[in-house]
Symmetry: C3
Subunit: 352 residues, 3 copies
């Protein structure tokens, strides 16, 4: 049913977006139109990627997911970088990290916990993810930030590039570890989710076609979306930061959000956690460093330097998440705690 | 026996305090007199609250404990706020958090560990508490502090109010979680402490009367106590910060301190940890945000913004505590580590 | 075989160093010569200390190891302090902490993990060490740093001295805990490493003689080594910080590095972790505070105040290490994560 809604939204949204753009409709209306259309398109991209991943087998499939899983965000960000909106990009990636860690995982734990008293997920995966979260945020984000205080611009950029390359390499190593050397080594104590749904929804050809067309459509709309930010910000009194951290992040991740919560409600916590935390890691260890490297091709390059508020918000969230998830169990209250943290940060970014 | 000492101290301390106040005795003498009297009165309030909690059953009892457990601190703080001593209040609440986490838990682990090689407590409670400690300090205290750097006064206050409301709501949710939805779900592996003492010490009427009279007496003395700070600080060369963080915090919590250590000595670690960490959470998630909201009624409102030293001291303490307590075990050396951390912070606040 | 190489290096290196010093050879050549000679001498000191420790029994042996285990670093640092190079000393101790935590443990986990899928070490020791790491870095290093912002020089020094004394006392208490009150209490679940090698390599007399002569030689060379830093820095464009954090730290710890990795390769993870983390703790809780106290005898005293970059690098590393090691298990990917963190910090210190 959700699929049908998204299909309708896509088939109406894309042409109307094109028409609206050409007719120079009000920026506010275009902003809303673009957001909704991107959300529905990203659901198509998610389904296409999943079909391809099943056809390609777990190894190549893992790589595909790693590359296309956050393709929408990557595309929006590239157009924002081209428009010189470095701060909006950093803000939206921060928002994506916070959104996945606190909002998606929080909602999943909470909704799942309303139905089940205690929910379990693979404790080894949880610890593995904790280590990666700590590395990405506490090392790869914190060190350039703190060291750049006493550095000139060129050294800051060099450190950013070095750190980005290491992030990408470690992310690929993590895939290699999970899919090749240690596949199935760390088995969950929890009853295994039967993988009944291992039949691809679409054929290989159809999936590639959908992925291609949807990507082009997202790219077209994203390019225009980023130019509406300024007007929307002025109209609603939202800062660039708030638009980036909260609005863009939610638009870019809406489809994933829904499926993570759904899985939690079905007590498939391993999948739910994998979406929430896996997606966080993908943004932090792949999308972000790739964007740093791509930005070198544009006029304004993007160093790996967040605002202090963004950095501390991510550090706090990761530490909270590590403490909450490290035992491989969840309940509604842990979900509520994560959601409460998200609300406090949302208020903070709104008032900034 | 301790009870008799406190009774004597109360029946001498209260009238002498009144006389001394009216006769304008030396501020130093009054300061000592007030402190001792409040310590003895708070022991009465603790016993009255416990009796009422048993009569009322675990649900209402939990709420009662949550409200009156740190009533003395709440009262002292309200009078200090009324006198405009915002910084002393923040300092004394910081001191309360540090005192409970490091001094009380440290002494409990140390003294208990001298008698028993390894002491166990409920590991689920420990993890639940870790999550709450992380939320309260790393999110609810850190975010307003870091975001307020780039905010004007009004936004800072708005963020403080929002965060305070969320803290209180999450604290009440935690009670609901522990007392209603997940009561008895997370059983300790350790042998259960037989609850022999479930007979209330006092009848309902007597308990309410004691609570009422003691509260009035504490309020009266507190109002005069806060005005002696200035003189005492000058006389001994103590800063406001040191008086708040170390002296007021110890006076406000002395009764709890004693019973936590006693329980550890009897190997009832669940109760001991509950007092130390539960009390920390009560101060951080209930007393403090309530005071932020109450302060709006006074001339000087109190935002949720600590000094950097206070904030970092709490962050460090919480992280240390989480790492030490998360395995549900303690020994004398872990206690000594916490005490050593308290001493270093004590020296720091003294020299500041 | 390694022993023979080191013996050759020593018997050539020491006399050549003396001749080179007297003939005022080029500083670059002397720097390299000194470094290699110290590495080989420190291997002799390590073997002598181990022989003595076996003869003296576990209690006195533990103390001996605690005192002489990082003797080379202590000696280099004393001469650097005498030359007024306070910042180089702090940098080299930071480098020692980072090197042991990230490089040594990282290499051990990685190399061991290439041979074994999962390696286990005593989970109780891991948690005990986590607590100590948190205390040393998050409390004893962070508090003086943050409090000194608002302190004058004399208060800063007082706080440094107080903190140093507490660090040393807690370190000795930790030895007492491990060797006396809780010896054998926390047994590893992993198969115990048979202690076949409990026969001392050298007799008591020979060990003392070697220790004495090697110490004198190290002292002689160290005194001249510290004076070459300036020239080497200029020649290669290395900052004092980089020389201290990376070069001196590697030279001072090379012998330990090798043996930790070797033990991991033999799957003796308990010993490997003990060298890496035990050595970190020794530097942080013994060598460093002792140097703070010794510095009071010299013209320039050394407060316990790192640069912000050094402090944050240590805080991040400790948190990463705690999250990774707390489950008592390792694999190649965890090792790679630690190494990646080391490389990012190395780039950072190089560019600073």
């Amino acid at each position: 049913m959700t699929n049908k809604v998204f299909m309708l939204m896509t088939f109406i949204g894309v042409p109307v977006s094109v028409i609206g753009t050409m007719m120079h409709w009000s920026n506010i209306i275009l902003f809303i139109l673009y957001c909704l259309t991107i959300i529905s398109l990203s659901s198509f991209m998610g389904r296409a990627t999943e079909s391809l991943a099943i056809v390609a087998g777990p190894r190549i499939g893992g790589l595909l997911n790693a590359t296309f899983g956050n393709a929408v965000e990557l595309i929006i960000s590239i157009f924002a970088l081209k428009a010189g909106l470095v701060e909006v990009v950093l803000a939206s990636l921060t928002g994506s990290v916070l959104g996945n860690l606190l909002l998606v995982a929080g909602l999943s734990f909470f909704v799942g916990g309303l139905k089940f008293k205690r929910q379990e997920f693979n404790v080894y995966d949880a610890r593995h993810n904790s280590g990666l979260l700590m590395f990405a945020v506490m090392i790869a984000f914190v060190i350039p930030e703190v060291f750049s205080i006493n550095m000139n611009e060129s050294s800051t950029l060099t450190l950013s590039i070095g750190t980005s390359v290491i992030l990408i390499l470690l992310y690929l190593s993590a895939l290699f570890f999970k899919l090749v050397t240690h596949r199935g080594v760390y088995q969950s104590a929890a009853p295994k989710d039967a993988h009944e749904e291992e039949i691809p929804e679409w054929s290989k050809g159809k999936a590639i076609a959908v992925l291609l067309i949807a990507t082009i459509a997202v790219a077209y709309i994203s390019e225009h979306l980023v130019h509406t930010f300024e007007y929307v910000g002025e109209r609603f009194g939202w800062s660039d930061l708030f638009i980036g951290v909260i609005i863009v992040a939610i638009v870019g991740n809406a489809a994933e959000h829904a499926s993570a919560v759904l899985m939690a409600y079905k007590n498939k916590m391993d999948i739910s956690v994998e979406i929430a935390i896996g997606s966080t890691l993908q943004v932090a260890m792949f999308v972000l460093p790739v964007l740093v490297l791509i930005s070198l091709l544009f006029e304004t390059s993007m160093p790996l330097i967040f605002s202090w508020q963004e950095l501390i918000a991510m550090v706090s969230s990761v530490l909270l998440m590590v403490v909450i998830s490290n035992d491989g169990e969840s309940n509604w209250f842990e979900g509520l705690t994560l959601l409460a943290a998200y609300v406090i940060m949302g208020i903070g970014f709104f008032l900034l």
